[in-house]
Amino acid sequence: MTLVIVAVAVVLLAIIGLIAYSRRPRQDSGVASFRRHIDALSSESRRELKDRVRPAVDDDDPDTPQEPAD
């Protein structure tokens, strides 16, 4: 009986330890997340967007009256 209680306690402690470890802010998480953020804003990353939008805008009928836009 005692053995079972000890085993359950050990397992519980291990689970709590694992949860605490996984919730601990990792030292590199801020760096990696910031790097991803900055990389996603790079000119290289935005090139695809420009290529996608330019043809759609160029195709606009020049005779269509233009309304003001925000």
């Binding site: 991803r36 996603a40 935005r46 925000d70």
Partner: protein
Amino acid sequence: MARDLAIDLGTANTLVYMKGRGIVLNEPSVIALNRQTGEVLATGREAWQMIGRTPGYIVAVRPLRGGAITDFEITERMIRLLLQRVGVSRFTRPKVVICVPSAITEVERRAVTDAARRAGAADAQLIEQPMAAAIGADLPIDEPVGNMVIDIGGGTSETAVISLGGIVALEAVRVGSFDIDAAIQAYVRREHGIAIGERTAEEVKVAIGSADPTHDENQAEVRGRDLMSGLPKTVILTPEEIRLAIDDVLSSITSSVVRCLSKAPPELAQDFLVRGMYLVGGGGLLRGLAQRIERETQVPVKMSTMPLEAVVMGAGHCIEHYDALKNMFMGARR
């Protein structure tokens, strides 16, 4: 599976960007309703053509003013119809990123997200217009240098200093190109005694409006209703008159640009002298406005290559890189 969307829900125009496709819709933010039954009769360009020309039972309205929702129910219906037009149905609920003015209140933000969710979006995130504009205008905002963007929309004008992917300084005023139209309407009424509609005022602005004298100036013939006799009447307006009429509105915009410049840290302020400021938004197309801002701030002003689409393109980039850029959304930073 629905394709995610970015929406520039502007006071004047609404643009929709679809993930993987590009800009799929660009229409005026106008809806026409049957006043008696509440039924929607038209949206977008068709409804815009009805403004000021409807019989008593039809009302053509812009449900946004100053960048904020003035009529929640009508805005929701307009967004729902726009989403339907780009293929959103009851079974395909996309994630949506919506551009909003940075100056809107918490209540106004909630109104926008609620309207989008009720109109069929699975999730609605907000992004500040100047940040989206800077991304869409292809400014090097990923670098540690000062980038300044001036976004002059229909109802708001916003100036932001951006560096390393974040806003450093921001200044916004609820004044935009609709206020320029309103100032022209008020001037013609006061000085010439005739009433003109908002579309006529806008046409005058486009034809002869300017912020600074230009080399090719013409007069404009304007028709309206004489306030004394009630009869149709024609008057001639000059560019000088229009400049006088809109001076207060333009001063308000340039003052906010100056305030933003004064908020910028000195290390970034020196970058503006070399790199200049970028003008986006339909209001920025007013002749001579860039020169006037340049004259009053002593900083070079450049026009973005795609001023009308810059904001939705920036939001579109955020929807393309949703996970990497979700920290930029307004809710995420609170």
